[in-house]
Amino acid sequence: MAKVIGTEVLRKEDPELITGQAKYIDDLVVPGMVWMHIVRSPLAHAKINGIDFSRAREMPGVIAAFSGNDLADDWPGPLLMAWPVTEDINNPSHWPLAKDKARYQGDGVAVVIAETRAQAADAAEAVDVDYEPLDPVVDMEAALAGGAPVVHDEFGTNRCYVWTHTNGEVDSVFASAPVVVKERFVIQRQVPNAMEGRGVLCQPNPAMGDFTLYTSTQIPHIVKVGMALGTGIPESKIRIVAPRVGGGFGSKLQVYPEEQLALTLAKRLGLPIKWTETRSENFLATHHGRDQIQEFELAADEDGRIRGYRINIKVNMGAYLMLITPGTPLLGAWVYCGPYGGEAYGIEFTGVFTNTTPTDAYRGAGRPEATYAIERMMDVLAKRVGKDRLEIRRMNFMPASTEPFAMPGGLMIDSGDYDSTLDAALELIDLDATRAERQARRDRNDTKVLGIGFSTYLEMCGLAPSRILSVLRYAAGGWDAAQIRVLPTGKVVLAIGTSPHGQGHATTFSQIVAEDLGIPVEDIEVVHSDTELAPLGMDTYGSRSLAIGGVAVHRAALKVVEHARKIAAHELEVSEDDLEYDGGTFSVKGAPDKAVTIPALAFSAWTAHNLPDDVEPNLAGTAVYDPQNFVWPYGAHICVVEVDTETGHVDVQQYVAVDDVGRVVNPQIVEGQVHGGVIQGIAEALYEEAVYDENGTLMTSSMSNYCVPAASDVPAITVGHAGETWSTTNEMGFKGVGETGTIASPPAVINAINDALSHLGDIDVGRPATPERVWRAIHGRGEAAPEAAEGPGAGAGTGSAERAAAEGGGDAQ
């Protein structure tokens, strides 16, 4: 039997995607469908004194219009918040529409339902909301200061929680360490910007009291729980379907107001309710990511050997706690040490409410922030003790091991060999020549200087062992499920509890089944993302699908094999012990031509004409897998940049990525994940930043002024390999790759920029390293204050049109 795992099978998902045949939410149309449009607060903080729908209700096509208070009786519970990280967390009720106050620009305050989408949009403009403006608080540190406006009056503070974790004697280590370096880093807020925005279609079946909610989500199973809790509709009466989903990056790991609104309105009105998010709404009302202020101390010996980590982080929650808002930063809480050793580790997170869009998971969720911090610190430590930046990393790497080992934060790592990926990455770059060129340019005072940046990262993913989630106070488990049905003609239907939205589950999981059952990849159909067809699962996020769902698939296949073995022994008239199994064929030991295959056994199991007494008809297998540990991918990324010191422009000239993600099922899919992740991380380092002005107005609110780079703006990426260090967490050796690129790359880029400028003095370029930020750092101009602009949305966005609109003139031709 040829190996299937580890080969580059072409993605079977692609034909419908690249020919435009795939059906996304906005493609779905059902008879009698009507549209909802959300009225959103233009103000970041305002009391709602009243809402007058009289004009809106007169508008053409309008069916109904409601405020949050109008619908309050339909909501026995607030939107699901699943991660109260501390016992005393301040957890405000978050309703699908604000009832008393709007707390961020974009907060939904009313909903209008009309026959067409355009009618609903027009009528929403005619809803008169009586807002009483309140002072907003936007900046995290200002929000914690005395006298700041309070986002949620009932708490009397903007402090949401303080979560701490300590391992070892942190204070005594710091007191005795000869070297302590301390830095502050700002991790800017980002807008995830999945290519497909969100959307919902809720179809009621009034006669039977059940509902089908189509939604563009990563988590149909969790949404189902959220809908049941939020609306009181029995969970058994709710079916959630995620059709083709055009990316999520964490932004669709969420239970959203619009989902609960559509379900509520479908129940109230007995009509199918449709909503398609606009890109403008996506900027305001789909959760944001990142947004931390970090203070990081490293304690070390004089030679640079790290002894301890002490980290204090403020995290912007935004205005409300959504599904895992408070817990998202904790996903990075253990990897602020990177792949480095040490005897003491102390970390504290403070969650802070502000009048901004809520934050939550964004690709990497907590680990990019951690990796940025430690990889910047390693460069700082190297400089402080006078060591080469590679040497300081290598001397602090935890030793290579194929067995589990303890790390400074107190968890166990499955396996690792951190020198190996760095060695492989260095093979792909001519470091000596690059260093020589860097020096030559400095020597001749070239205005274009070169820099080299390193990022040797460690991350934890495969979310997550349910027992550890319990300790962390997360409300759900971390297991997942797979069901295999072998059809009478030998084809396979694999139903999975994970929920793909671009990753390639259908191909990857088919390869696992193909190898286990000897059935061709093309004969395996993968069913997912429909709560009525898929086994109960925990969906897709946190690089968990392969490391958990994939293991469940393998275990389900083994159950099929065990089921088939009984039938094979019966048909071949030998005991099970006398059978050999290889790649889908059972044969009798010593008599290999006495054999029977899985498809033939599936037919026997279907006819059930001649089965042993204790064997059930139908060849099938189901497995649920709950991991006992996380998985811990790692790698080394190297970036070479050229910085134009006159303009601040940064050009990424070379990017090398070597990641060891454990056992690889499909190398092409893995490489694609690395490419996408690295590009997203380069965007984080150089381009993307969500900027609010002091009024809480999102200044970067469209694709024209929130800078998602285009293909022409990103470099070619060189991906190398160091081998596969299999995970010991699961028997398949799987780790995860969905987030590694985004986790590893931002510090590689920023370290390269700071290296490029290191001869110019004590320069620390922050992120994103926009041309102006770099220019200011070089020329000592302090922090930019471009946000103090002429008005909302001012800028060279739509040309100068938004600026003209802000000035109240200049209607554009």
């Binding site: 989408r117 355009a118 949009a121 027009d122 403009e125 606009t278 890109r279 403008s280 709404e281 006159e646 303009t647 422009h649 381009y687 900027v691 200044m699 970067t700 469209s702 024209s704 002024n705 800078c707 780079p709 285009a710 022409s712 703006d713 926009t770 041309p771 102006e772 220019w775 200011r776 020329h779 101009r781 930019a784 204050a785 471009p786 946000e787 103090a788 602009a789 002429e790 001012a794 800028g795 060279a796 966005g797 739509t798 040309g799 100068s800 049109a801 938004e802 600026r803 003209a804 609109a805 000035e807 003139g809 200049g810 209607d811 554009a812 031709q813």
Partner: protein, 277 residues
Amino acid sequence: MIPAKFDYERADSLDAAIALLQQHGDDAKLLAGGHSLLPLMKLRLASPGVLVDIGRLKDLSYVRDGGDHVAIGALTRHHDVANDSTLASQCPIVSYTAGLIGDPQVRHMGTIGGSVAHGDPASDMPTVLLALDATFVAKGASGERTIAAGEFFSGLFETALNPDEVLTEIRVPKTAGRGWSYQKFQRRSQDWAIVGVAAVMTGSNGGAAIGYTNMGEAPMRGTAVEQALSGGSDAAAASAHAGEGTNPPSDTFASAEYRRALAEVLVRRALEEASSR
């Protein structure tokens, strides 16, 4: 992202377009390539009552040798301007700059006339045409007239066009043999310029016409730099005057302070490039 309600009229001829503009007055907007107007309408920053679509007036799409100038029909797409051989040989700064506008989709839909009539100080082409002392031809109910580029751009989205006039042709002087440069500084390849600088050498004595993109309410000439050059300053010395007379915006892309610093760098680079070819 959903525009307010509007009426739509398609003009079958230039005269029909002018008649529709007369009929609807200030309520009407011309629609050519739509790549400036439609985004504004979708964001509801513009809500015209009537769109008069002139996109199918094929006889306004051309590039012709006009003797001492090259005539470009107002409805000529950026892509066609960028790839025109007459322009490439007779006025290469125009075809080069057209190739920098937006992305391929924008260049295949957007028109040179639309870019000029829109009057956006962040657009590249108006700056280049201003530096070239181009001439614009407008036709209205009262007949046809020509307007010098220096008198055309009057403010933020304001031009010398009357509400019932259609811009029909852009005439650019031939510059073959004169050095030129357009320096566009942007964050992403499809972005508007944070700052753009056009330079066209005016003779052999180091003089040059300078144009600025996104340094004020309208595309503007770099008069202070031009004067320094004619007074004998070299590129580095003249570029020190780049910020003079400008009023650049501060926005999420850049502060005014940074734009002024960029302008100085870009003027020097533009002059160095222009004088070397």
